[in-house]
């Protein structure tokens, strides 16, 4: 049952990811990425990471992708031009590099001990809940959390400076 669910969501994730590459219109690519994000969120729930699954939907598929779609519509989604003659060799180089990367990754994964995930109702069932995430975040990982807020502040200022019109 669980393996069937994993295979269903993995196939959806990989198919949506491939669809990002196949589409020429960036709007359809963005919508395909939302499909990948939602199926990854389902996999997070299977991994007992409920809080991460929720913020994957709310922050990623909600906020970040809305920003992408907004910018694509603001720039009127120009279709990708097919003048790839300049960089044809780069495109031909992508396939062997992808094969090499995948071969390296599968070599590493091959050496992972073939043990299964701990069962869902084990003693550590409180791993992914909001309570445990919040407790860890505001005690042990307080400094990274505060640094993150500074990063967000700098991103806000940087985005406003960069996207402002030059003539004012």
């Amino acid at each position: 049952m669980e393996k069937a669910l994993f295979i269903i969501f993995a196939v959806i994730a990989v198919a949506s990811a491939l669809n990002i590459l196949l589409q020429r219109n960036p709007m359809y690519s963005a919508l395909s990425l939302i499909g990948t994000l939602v199926s990854l969120s389902a996999l997070y729930i299977m991994l007992r990471a409920q809080f991460i699954a929720a913020i994957q939907i709310v922050v990623y598929a909600g906020a970040i992708m809305v920003l992408f779609v907004f910018v694509i519509m603001l720039l009127n989604a120009p279709r990708e031009q097919s003048n790839v003659d300049k960089q044809k060799w780069l495109r031909a180089l992508a396939i062997p590099f992808a094969g090499l990367l995948l071969a390296e990754a599968s070599y590493v994964v091959w050496r992972v001990p073939a043990r299964a995930m701990p069962p869902l109702d084990s003693s550590s069932s409180g791993v992914g809940t909001t309570y445990s995430v919040g407790t860890k975040l505001f005690t042990e990982y307080l400094l990274p959390f505060e640094v993150t807020s500074v990063l967000i502040l700098m991103a806000i200022v940087g985005a406003m400076v960069l996207a402002r019109r030059q003539d004012d």
């Binding site: 590459l21 690519s29 860890k136």
Partner: protein, 100 residues
Amino acid sequence: MIPLSWYLGLSALLFTIGAVGVFIKRNAITIFLCIELMLNAVNLTFVSLSSYFGDMGGQLFVFIVMTVAAAEAAVGLAIIISIFRNRESLNVDDADAMKL
């Protein structure tokens, strides 16, 4: 139960698709979407190893990676808007002012 290697293999496959997209796409926004895909592949590795070892550190790191992705999207899309305003094009081959 699902072996750990399935999750790691899926993550490697998604990362490779994102890397190929950065190579073969010419539209700046699509390249950005492929970078987000690679970040998500790494997030899947973090969450699966966190669940495997029963340690919360991986999930908190995913939280931070999501924040970095949000900041990167905001700044990167602002850069794309200003490039589009200057050059009337989203093709990355047109933004070659630093080319030798």
